[in-house]
Amino acid sequence: MSLVEEFQYGLDAPICLTWELTYACNLACVHCLSSSGRRDPRELSTAECQAVIDELERMQVFYVNIGGGEPTVRSDFWDLVDYATAHHVGVKFSTNGVRITPAIARRLAASDYLDVQISLDGATAEVNDAVRGPGSYATALRAMENLAAAGLSGFKISVVVTRHNAGQLDAFQAIAERYGAQLRLTRLRPSGRGADIWDELHPTAGQQRALYDWLVAHGEDVLTGDSFFHLAGYGEALPGLNLCGAGRVVCLIDPLGDVYACPFAIHDNFLAGNVRNGGFEKVWRESELFADLRRPQTGGACTSCSAFDACRGGCMAAKFFTGLPLDGPDPECVRGHGAVALSTVDAARTPRPSGNHSRVPVTIGRRPPARACDENPLAGIAH
């Protein structure tokens, strides 16, 4: 059996997992996967987070991808990072850079088990801020300067590829080189608030082809988090595992301890359980949803396609939130089958993401003024 086949039947423990530590965020990105904004009072406590880390150590989960929300606004964030790395669980965390001061940057540079990803969705302030909000480009670049000045080379610049920045790949690469960083490109998913803007922002078919060629040309120098495996339908597979690992080799723990099959599938249909009911390991090993995902999947309408062995039908979450059947083509199928399928979907009936933590309604490039009491997203968080 090939490794990919082995992985499709699931592992006893995830290779890595995504852990959203809080729904609180100082930004309100239009494509936020977790519809973040306000902290939820039911979020896991420090002790509960430590108990999860203890389990991850026992299960030998190699690392966690910590996100949010903006994880660094949790007052116990640095303590949890220290706790994880001291327990041999590596930490990669995503941040918009708001808390990456020169002092924090020096602290980060001193750890071997820590990776930092600064999110940036435009190589120019104009393109970035239309998606991530005013001032967010400047915040991200200041964080990069601080990291570079502290001698932390190889931090990641994490870009969600959209219709507006797909033409800026070389410019992103230049920014990465300027700071001694590594570029990481990931796919725009119609998840969370992303469901509202996906039609408008997902790359065109032409941009998608150009992206694929660019990724092939850059090989392993550019990270993708395996997020473009649907592009393998073009021919040569991109570096990485090229499979959907949802519930098989990866999963998501949300701020409340809910365990979902993947970070792009925050919906009751993909909810496997909660760490508060007997721990994470129990959910990973005993969830019926995960057991289903680990059975051989049918390709449905895709089975007869010559690209199916390469793309495996694409991303489950992308299909689900665009209203497509899970055993059919990905909405961005490189053969165009997704576009045809989408034309028959009744947009009013597509599934809605579970949970909305937005402080205010969020739209591309324009934000309604927040009420004064909403201005500080950290309200309610102890310092």
């Binding site: 059996m1 490794l3 082995e6 592992l11 006893d12 423990a13 290779i15 030998q60 190699f62 690392y63 041999h88 590596g90 071997d112 088990y113 990776d115």
Partner: protein, 91 residues
Amino acid sequence: MSTEFDLDAAWRLHPQVSLRPERFGALLYHFGTRRLSFLKSTALLDVVRMLDAAPNARVACVNAGVAPEQVSTYERALGTLAASEMIVERS
């Protein structure tokens, strides 16, 4: 990158590598290079586990029960692991 592997040298798992046994062999994660790798058989896992206590890799293969005519196969696999710094020479 050299793939020449010295079977007569003493080897060990890189101190920053975490090894997790799986039904197909094992997963390896290197916290320094952030690379994930795989041992595609439990027999190779046995060899890797024997490295540290053996005076050299050839003896580790023997101790793990590798037949003499199979040693070259394991030499190649160990060479790949050495090239990605998953295993390093012991001094």
